[in-house]
């Protein structure tokens, strides 16, 4: 996509120069909030509280980040930065892997087996698209309490791994596998597990990567759910911890450390998107079909 295949709108001369200027302006607007918080994370509290903020990184970067990682976040967040990053990573990876596993299994059952209520099961999964947590918030919370899932990793991960979109995507992909492939495998005596492991899984890898990127971001950026099902600081994700730091801010709030936490809350998912861009774009476009 990145090579210079000439699109229908390609301009010449002035038009193209203007387009570059507009794009540079667009990139500045898009990047500025993140650049701003990064710059703020490299200055002292005094500098941050005396606007305007310098436009270049300050000399307190090492000091701020070292402090944040060696326990100063405990003071304002009640729990270490390592724990916050660990929790969030565990939840994001857990959700992404969980979604991939259960939706691949469901799609496999629906496409490669014949059994009563096959399509009813598919629709049952599909309709969950129309039931986001926001529309069933109170009763879902009650289920969590009844099952003792409040303040547990299982509670943070399990209810979010049902995935209509991933099931739909795998189903569509599995349906493109030619019948001959399955027939040949069966002639060779391969059972469902062998067929999956040796043939289907290797063919599915790009789809798996695409879904992983999208769902990792989904897991990392969760907000309402962790807000509902966690009370203890120990279970906070970095996003929730940051929100608590900001809303209990007072004259003594170490804003430099809040800025460091913000940078670390933003950086991992951005790295995933930028480094896995090819799969990210594929995943984004395909899960929306």
């Amino acid at each position: 996509m990145d090579n210079s295949t000439q699109g229908p709108l390609v301009a010449r001369g002035m038009g193209r120069t203007m387009a570059h200027l507009w794009m540079i302006l667009g990139v500045i607007i898009v990047a500025f909030p993140v650049y701003y918080v990064f710059i703020a994370s490299t200055h002292s509290v005094q500098t941050i509280l005396r606007p305007p903020l310098p436009l270049l990184p300050g000399s307190d970067a090492y000091e701020n980040y070292r402090g944040a990682f060696s326990g100063e976040i405990n003071r304002i967040g009640g729990v270490s930065l390592w724990r916050l990053l660990g929790n969030t990573t565990l939840i994001a990876v857990g959700i992404a892997v969980g979604k991939i596993v259960i939706s691949m299994a469901s799609a496999y059952a629906i496409v490669f087996f014949k059994f009563p209520f096959r399509m009813a099961c598919f629709w049952l999964i599909f309709i969950t698209l129309m039931l986001p947590v926001e529309v069933r918030i109170q009763p879902t919370y009650k289920v969590m309490v009844d099952l003792g899932l409040i303040d547990t990793y299982a509670g943070l991960i399990l209810p979010l791994i049902a995935s209509a979109t991933a099931t739909l995507l795998f189903r569509q992909f599995f349906m493109t596998i030619p019948d001959e492939l399955l027939e040949a495998a069966r002639v060779d005596g391969a059972g469902p597990w062998r067929f999956f492991k040796d043939i289907l899984w290797p063919l599915s890898l790009t789809n798996v990567a695409a879904i992983f990127v999208i769902q990792f971001i989904y897991g990392w950026t969760q907000y309402l759910w962790p807000l509902l099902v966690t009370n203890s600081n120990e279970m906070n994700t970095i996003v929730i911890a940051l929100k608590k730091m900001v809303s209990f801010a007072d004259a003594d709030t170490p804003w430099n450390l809040v800025m460091v936490t913000s940078v670390l809350a933003i950086l991992p998912p951005i790295l995933v998107v930028v480094l896995m861009q090819r799969w990210f774009v594929k995943g984004l476009v395909e899960t929306e079909k």
């Binding site: 606007p51 529309v135 919370y141 984004l284």
Partner: protein, 293 residues
């Protein structure tokens, strides 16, 4: 349906079991409960409840606070969808005029997608914080009495900006894909006929983008309605007053902070109807795209 399948009878159920269990326990059961509670009213001690028909709905729909939240939601969603789509379309058209550097621009444009909505809100709050925000400072110098924590309209502007900012990258990717699918020959023909670029855009490019635009309209509406809870919660908590209290924020607030169950359930059911209509609309349209596209 495939011609060849595996003959197992029990295995498919085992494979489906985890996903079905999760959807039944965490989706269908609570959704059914929301419907049930929406027609019941509990006594103040939560000991007994009685069937009240649509009384909860009548109460909610006549509540000025709810109507205010509905109005806030419409204003917020229209502004976010409009700005996020217009800016993204403009930038997508610009990037398509460029030959070299497209990939770099795309990389630089897409990553706000990875920023959590709540954090997007906080980033904008940092920049425009009335006491230390660098961008609040010039507003002050211009004589604007900038304080989004006290002024409802300014608070709305701030959450709209944050929500828009986060959504631009998503729309940008889809508009770029839509623009690349437009046949070059049509634009060349228009150029031969002497149409100006502007005219060619509005008479050829924009109409051909309609499927993408419609799709994004639904996605952006759903985003503005539901996914922006984090922005509102983190930046304004619905305030000042109730000037940024959206429907989703209110359902959360009534159910968890004010603990009014019947009302909260009725609000949930109303939201459910909104999502179902939007999703149904989206799928009807997507079916069309599959048929003709």
């Amino acid at each position: 349906m495939r011609r060849t399948v595996f003959p197992h009878k029990l295995l498919p159920w085992l494979l489906l079991a985890p996903q079905l269990a999760i959807t039944l326990i965490f989706f269908y059961w609570p959704a059914a409960q929301a419907f049930r509670q929406s027609v019941l009213r509990e006594d103040p001690f939560g000991l007994s409840s009685q069937f009240v028909g649509l009384a909860n709905f009548r109460k909610v729909l006549n509540d000025p606070a709810y109507l205010n939240a509905a109005q806030v939601t419409v204003v917020f969603s229209v502004l976010v969808a409009f700005f996020a789509m217009t800016i993204a379309l403009f930038l997508a058209v610009q990037v398509e005029k460029i030959v070299r550097g497209k990939g770099l621009y795309r990389t630089l444009m897409i990553w706000p997608y990875a920023v959590a909505p709540a954090i997007a809100g906080m980033l904008w709050l940092f920049m425009f914080n009335p006491s230390f925000g660098t961008l609040a400072w010039p507003l002050r110098q211009l004589g604007i009495n900038w304080n989004p924590l006290l002024d409802g309209e300014q608070a709305m502007a701030l959450v709209v900006a944050a929500a828009t900012w986060k959504q631009i990258s998503y729309n940008f990717l889809f508009f770029v894909a839509g623009l690349q699918a437009i046949p070059k020959s049509l634009l060349e023909a228009a150029a031969i006929d002497g149409a100006t670029k502007r005219r060619a855009f509005w008479t050829i490019v924009f109409p051909l983008l309609t499927p993408t635009t419609f799709f994004l309209l639904v996605v952006n509406t759903v985003y503005a309605l539901f996914d922006t809870f984090g922005i509102i919660h983190a930046v304004t908590s619905g305030g000042p007053g109730k000037s940024t209290e959206t429907l989703v924020y209110k359902v959360y607030n009534d159910g968890f902070v004010n603990l009014i169950m019947g009302d909260s359930a009725a609000q949930s059911v109303i939201l459910m109807v909104i999502v179902i209509s939007l999703t149904a609309f989206q799928f009807r349209f997507i079916e069309k795209r599959v048929h003709y596209g």
